[in-house]
Symmetry: C2
Subunit: 136 residues, 2 copies
DNA sequence: TGGCCAATCTGGACTTTGTCTAATCTCGCG
DNA sequence: CGCGAGATTAGACAAAGTCCAGATTGGCCA
């Protein structure tokens, strides 16, 4: 799969998102890199050549993508949220010193023995984060 | 175990923390409740009667407690960190709508199939968060 | 007892992440 | 064309957290 800007328009439409120039650029930043990016990093990525997308639009758009299920969010760093082009259930490895965040495939991992949920509650997701640091 | 202020002094000393009035109050707020509290909530708990502990001291002290292993931090909410008087390995259930955070005992939960760590890395911790929401 | 001084605490300025709003822009359609 | 719903924008605002220089504390020794 090649994440060209042209393909982004179709991807957006398939998630019921009206493909505008800014939205295409933001989707392209996330999907072409296939990396976890913070709002700030998206902002920088999208405005490298010249300033074309405002902070408000970056935040609005990431929230829209999240609602529409185009991206997921990863909460590992107390100071910022990361946005993830991978929406399949998967886990994360977080290198505490460097802030590097990478995926762990959910296929091989198995979680068992979780207690039953409180009444009237449904699981929204299970986040598993392995926090690692460079050997001291 | 009764978490009186007097017992807090000994608890602090056993973690190589000089027990000052403010530190005792902050530890007491966390341990007597046995709940997950944000810095803001600690601040409020400690200053109910009359203002006695500054914001800077609350943040400094929570960071000190964390370094000394007296409390742990839980990162589930993108807008604030929770501090946890429970430092034994355990998991969390997070009710997204209400923000309620509760413990899941690690004893019964089993996680298997995690890939080997990158070279020269050691696990600092494994965070498992079950995000739930009220049935729609 | 009183003074010293290292550790601690403090108010408040500052930074960063994120939100909000009112004004402006865009673009497909009649 | 030109309308208007939806989208974008600048910049004010809010909340969490950090930082610093000065004030306080309290244990210890003369
Ligand atoms: Mn462009
Ligand atoms: Mn008191
Ligand atoms: Zn991921
Ligand atoms: Zn806990």
């Amino acid at each position: 799969m090649n994440y060209t800007r042209d393909n982004m328009a179709g991807l957006l439409r398939s998630h019921e998102i009206n493909p505008t120039h800014q939205r295409i650029e933001i989707a392209h930043a996330l999907f072409s890199r296939q990396e976890h990016l913070s709002a700030d990093q998206v902002m920088a990525a999208v405005n490298t050549r010249h300033s074309e997308t405002s902070k408000a639009t970056v935040y609005n758009t990431l929230k829209l993508f999240l609602e529409k299920g185009l991206v997921s969010e990863v909460i590992v760093d107390p100071s910022k949220v990361f946005y993830d082009p991978n929406t399949t259930p998967h886990h994360h490895l977080y290198e505490v010193d460097s802030g590097k965040l990478s995926d762990i495939d959910a296929g091989s991992v198995q979680i068992s023995g979780l207690p039953p949920l409180p009444d009237g509650m449904v699981t929204e997701g299970i986040d598993l984060i392995v926090r690692v640091r460079r050997q001291p």
